[in-house]
Amino acid sequence: MRKFTLLDGLVVPLDRANVDTDAIIPKQFLKSIKRSGFGPNAFDEWRYLDHGEPGMDNSKRSPNPDFVLNQPRYQGAQVLLARENFGCGSSREHAPWALEDYGFRVIIAPSFADIFFNNCFKNGLLPIKLDADKVDALFNAVEANNGYKLKVDLEQQTITLPDGTVYKFDVDAHRKHCLLNGLDDIGLTLQHVDDIKAFEEKHRAAQPWLYA
């Protein structure tokens, strides 16, 4: 997994609540058996005027000029500013794969759906929960200022605004450690092989029908 330490990134505002993972990456793209290449189809139904299917040349499709990601001032954005319950619905990890492949490294919202939130950390994406009033203020600031960037420091757990204001954010210790060091969980978990085996033996004795 790609490490995340520091970012000074352009912010794009996606001003709607309950953005679901079907919207982030529509079902037809889930037929892929790969982990990569979903970026051009992130938010496909909102982003293009025509209907997208796997295998299309996306550079030849008509972008929807009204969709915020298509506006010239937000090109190259790495920070997605969103509203409450971002990433709800389907557990598809294709959603964080698509956002990461698009170029996002940080998502800021007042709240996230649990499965999506968890999936982000497995893919070098940092989801940050901020109070709704701070998110509101950021929406106003981004819309008012071209080229609005935020500095995100995972080690310090801070977001620094262009005017020098610093917001602290929470992240749990295990996820922070993995993200800072680009570590995948499997290797870490396999350091506990003996614990798992010991548990399994005890569990088998208590509930033998699970192993029949």
Partner: protein
């Protein structure tokens, strides 16, 4: 030991190891596998030269991509076909039990797990699918995971997790005529919102829940995720044991007695404390119909499409306005005046035998309305289909003008050829009314099987409690 919730009991009995910050390794008893969220996980295993820790804990079936007609001819779409063939190849290579597309035991993963007795009380169950919460109906701790976690569970038999908070949704009293578990589920989502259960595991309790069949409990737990909760669960009781007994993967003989003795402990202790409690009165729940693009945008058959002017705040007002525009609805329209184009009966929410029976009872001797272009019934598994045919339900549907299809996820998410065209309006027994969910530009109204069948006959929504 102090009083424990069902969730405490399930969690505590699976902790392998726990860090100071609460991050734990949780042992997983059952992993269900389908074709969409597993190929990258199997590939990850292979790249790292790893093998699944315990293949006997896995059960696989293709469900999202499979066609629901002319199945003997294979899958026409080459990309879908490759995904299903990849599942077949991976299961063969690693020795995972798979019910392939033309096996009568094939079906939607959340229908076949319980049907086979592969979902048991006290288990931890995971699957790369958010509707894994369904299995909590058996007093199991079951939730959806991402593909990285699918690979992690394959490789280590464990999941890295932190304990959620516990919520009790208590539904007391008796449901009225024509009111179902689906209506409870939608009423709960409407009450607490799609993020109301975020960070929680929900236990459904109360006399109305105890009175539900296993099918009804599965419908309810299935939609816990629509309220934001990864896991939903119901205490084990005689209804649970009766359902499981004799199923292929269920314990037998001496093991059965031992298992039941343990399963009888799988309920919240009388004085157990929950972090949140939500109460509903079953008698006041009416048949539900969603009007918008989120399951929380729901009202009853007596209701009207809401006016965004009355939304509680500016963000919600914007969401409601967008939803009405997408749905092609005008504020204040009575729900019963909304005309539909298509009907979809099926899915992991409502694709079980009881759902087929309920819909057939409404359709019996009737004909679908002339404005309904397509009404399809998609059983949740090959065995549900066979049972329905044994009972003659297929004939009732076909005579009424419905199409009787082969099992799979079908038009719940439209990964196969079953989908809505732009602007088409559908009464669906599935779980999500998101924009584009049933096909780009498609408009979904979530309802119970009875309500969907009645809408097919009338051509618009009608109050099944008055039929």
């Amino acid at each position: 030991m102090s009083a424990q919730t069902l969730y405490d009991k399930l969690w505590n009995s699976h902790v392998v190891q726990q860090d100071a910050d609460g991050t734990a390794l949780i042992y997983i008893d059952r992993q269900l596998v389908h074709e969409v969220t597993s190929p990258q996980a199997f590939e990850g295993l292979k790249l790292a030269h790893r093998k699944p820790w315990r293949t006997a804990s896995m059960l696989a079936t293709p469900d999202h991509n499979v066609p629901t007609t002319n199945r003997s001819g294979g899958i026409a779409d080459p990309i879908s076909r490759l995904q299903v063939e990849t599942l077949d190849a991976n299961c063969a290579e690693f020795g995972v039990v798979e019910f392939k597309m033309n096996d009568i035991r094939q079906g939607i993963v959340h229908v076949i797990g319980p049907e086979q007795g592969a979902t048991l009380p006290g288990m931890t169950v995971v699957c790369g699918d958010s509707h894994t919460s369904t299995h909590g109906a058996f007093a199991a701790l079951a939730h959806g995971i991402g593909t990285s976690e699918v690979e992690h569970v394959m490789a280590t038999q464990c999941l890295v997790a932190k304990k959620s908070k516990a919520m009790l949704v208590k539904v007391e009293g008796a449901l009225g005529h024509g009111v179902t578990a689906k209506d409870i589920a939608l009423a709960v989502v409407g009450k607490i919102g799609t993020a109301g259960g975020t960070g929680y595991a929900i236990e459904f309790g109360g006399s109305a829940i105890r009175a539900l069949s296993m099918e009804g409990r599965m419908t309810l737990c299935n939609m816990a995720i629509e309220a934001g909760a990864r896991a939903g669960m119901v205490a084990a009781d005689e209804t649970t044991f009766t359902y499981i007994k004799g199923r292929p993967f269920a314990p037998q003989g001496e093991n059965w007695d031992k298992a039941v003795a343990y399963w009888k402990t799988l309920h919240s202790d009388a004085s157990a404390a929950f972090d949140a409690v939500v109460e509903l009165d079953a008698a006041t729940i009416r048949p539900q119909v969603t009007w918008g693009t989120s399951p929380e945008m729901v009202t009853s058959i007596d209701g009207r499409v809401p006016d965004p002017v009355s939304a509680p705040d500016a963000v919600k007002r914007g969401d409601w306005e967008r939803a009405l525009a997408y749905m092609g609805l005008t504020a204040n329209t009575p729900i019963s005046e909304i005309q539909i184009d298509k009907v979809f009966i099926g899915s992991c929410t409502n694709g079980r035998i009881e759902d087929m029976r309920a819909a057939a009872a409404v359709a019996k001797g009737k004909k679908i309305a002339t404005n309904v272009k397509l009404a399809m019934v998609v059983p949740g598994s090959g065995l549900v289909k066979a049972q329905a045919e044994k009972e003659g339900l297929d004939k009732i549907f076909i005579e009424a003008g419905f199409e009787w299809r082969d099992p799979g996820c079908s038009m719940c998410l439209a990964m196969n050829d079953d989908r809505l065209e732009p602007g088409e309006r559908c009464a669906a027994t599935s779980n999500r009314n998101f924009e584009g969910r049933q096909g780009q530009g498609g408009r979904t109204h979530l309802v119970s099987p009875e309500m969907a069948a009645a809408a097919a006959i009338a051509g618009h929504f009608v109050d099944v409690s008055k039929l």
